[in-house]
């Protein structure tokens, strides 16, 4: 059976170009970049190149790029580190209800430490409520953290509007761009973004490596102590191969962004159309256009998304339900619930995230299998057609 992987929002395969850049570091050029001898200097030069590539892709200085173990670490560090380093200015943080758990849990920790956190609502299309942001911003607000694009329903937030509000008030604006890098062109300086988190494995790079971009004019507490790595703020021997892979991956993602986005948007829109035409009671979640070019989050009435995912898996098709980080939980998606979607449709959602290699033939095949599996589950369903989308 030829398998079709449509869960690229969860993780992506390592590209051949990236792997070939990583190989020397994994074999011959294995030095510790903190060693002063030639092996160490060679390893350090690899990290310097990767840092340059990230800086070029994000539109910042190399000294503003910090390598981490991934976006979860970057988010935790940004939220907790920025809050603690700036608490003399205020104790109020604003974020949204649809952030990744690594932001939400970090905020909850800060609440226990005496910070006040406002969690903004989103509208029915998945956009963070800018009117609420304006309402809740106050003189004690030190940090606004809003994700660039949502990991479940793919809606791209109005970053410039949020950033403008933050910079007018002198508030640090952090964005979790884990899903957005490679899909949105970033120039953090022009956009007024003061901190940004991203990950390597979402852009065909390796797992276990991420970046926190931090503008030079903001202060942050160190994340780990015990070494001078990452400008003394994130101690620990550098993950050289991962960093090299991330550097190459972001270079490729930025280089190919226009071509990839054009193709992905075409494929995404074609697939949405095919699903709507072939499966009744299908509902697209999130804004139809201002969303990641590879993201389709769709609910099927009378059907549980996890069951559908399981049946599709048996057909060799991998899709997601909600986010990979929280799937397996019995709790319904807090992201879709925040958008006011009815509980049965929240439960009936699957996330399809395409790769740039997808073909129309594969899409046609997948849509036919979705139609088959949905029909099979509807025969079993204890929810009637008249109950679909009913909010209690």
């Amino acid at each position: 059976m030829n398998k079709i992987y449509l869960d690229n929002a969860s993780t992506t395969p390592l590209s051949a170009e990236v792997l070939s850049e990583m190989m020397p570091v994994l074999t011959t050029d294995f030095g510790n970049p903190n060693s002063l001898h030639s092996f160490g200097r060679k390893a350090k030069s690899y990290i310097d190149t990767a840092r340059e590539r990230v800086a070029r892709a994000l539109g910042c200085k190399e000294s503003e790029v910090y390598f981490t173990s991934g976006a979860t670490e970057s988010n935790n560090w940004a939220i907790i580190g920025l809050a603690n380093a700036n608490k003399h200015k205020g104790n109020h943080i604003i974020t949204s209800k649809i952030e990744h758990p690594s932001v939400l849990e970090a905020c909850k920790k800060l609440e226990k430490d005496g910070f006040e956190v406002t969690y903004l609502d989103v509208d029915e299309m998945g956009f963070v409520r800018i009117d609420q942001l304006l309402h809740y911003v106050n003189s004690k607000t030190i940090l606004i953290s809003i994700m660039s694009a949502n990991n479940e329903m793919g809606v791209i937030q109005n970053l410039q509007a949020i950033s403008n509000i933050a910079s007018e008030k002198g508030i640090i604006f952090h964005t979790d761009a884990t899903q957005a890098v490679g899909a949105i062109s970033f120039n953090v300086r022009d956009m007024g973004i003061k901190a940004l988190s991203m990950s390597g494995h979402k852009i065909n790079g390796p797992k276990g490596v991420g970046v926190l971009y931090l503008s030079e004019d903001v202060v942050i507490s160190p994340f780990m102590n015990g070494g001078e790595q990452e400008f003394g703020l994130r101690a620990g021997t550098s993950n050289v191969s991962g960093i090299v892979g991330l550097g190459k991956a972001i270079e490729i993602a930025t280089r190919d962004i226009m071509v990839n986005n054009k193709k992905l948007r075409n494929m995404r829109d074609y697939m949405i159309k095919q699903i709507m035409q072939n499966v009744e009671l299908a509902f697209l979640n999130g804004h139809p256009i201002q969303r990641l070019p590879n993201n389709i989050n769709i609910s099927f009435g009378m059907v549980d998304g996890e069951s559908l995912m399981c049946l599709l898996d048996m057909e060799g098709i991998a899709v997601g339900t909600g986010s990979a980080c929280s799937s397996g939980s019995v709790e319904p998606s807090y992201v879709l619930t925040s958008m006011g979607i009815a509980p049965d449709l929240v439960q009936g959602a699957i996330r399809i995230s395409l790769s740039k290699d997808i073909t129309k033939e594969q899409i046609d095949f997948v849509v036919s299998k979705i139609a088959e599996c949905v029909a099979k589950l509807r025969k079993v369903s204890a929810i009637g057609k008249s109950q679909v989308g009913v909010k209690e």
């Binding site: 069951s307 399981c310 048996m314 019995v330 709790e331 079993v380 929810i383």
Partner: protein
């Protein structure tokens, strides 16, 4: 996430849908989610002659209902 047995049960689900002549219905709903199961029973003189089900929920729930129907068949209400 899913074991082989669950996959096998899902591939050949049994006891699905309404049951002709059913004279008892059992229904349960989750408080946390919209998970719902309904069992349709044909009971005569205190014995379960046949059972079918409908379910809205995850793969494990659906597979479990299919198996539970097989287990219940032939049992008495007292059992």
């Amino acid at each position: 996430m899913y074991n082989k047995k669950i996959m096998e049960i899902l591939q050949s689900l049994k006891n699905v849908g309404l049951l002709r002549g059913a004279n008892a219905i059992g229904k349960a709903e989750s408080k946390q989610s919209r998970d719902t199961i309904k069992f349709y029973f044909l009971v005569e003189e205190g014995n379960i002659l046949n059972v079918s089900f409908k379910a809205f929920g995850g793969a494990y729930l659906i597979a479990m209902c299919s198996v539970v129907c097989d287990v219940l068949k032939g049992m008495s209400i007292e059992d």
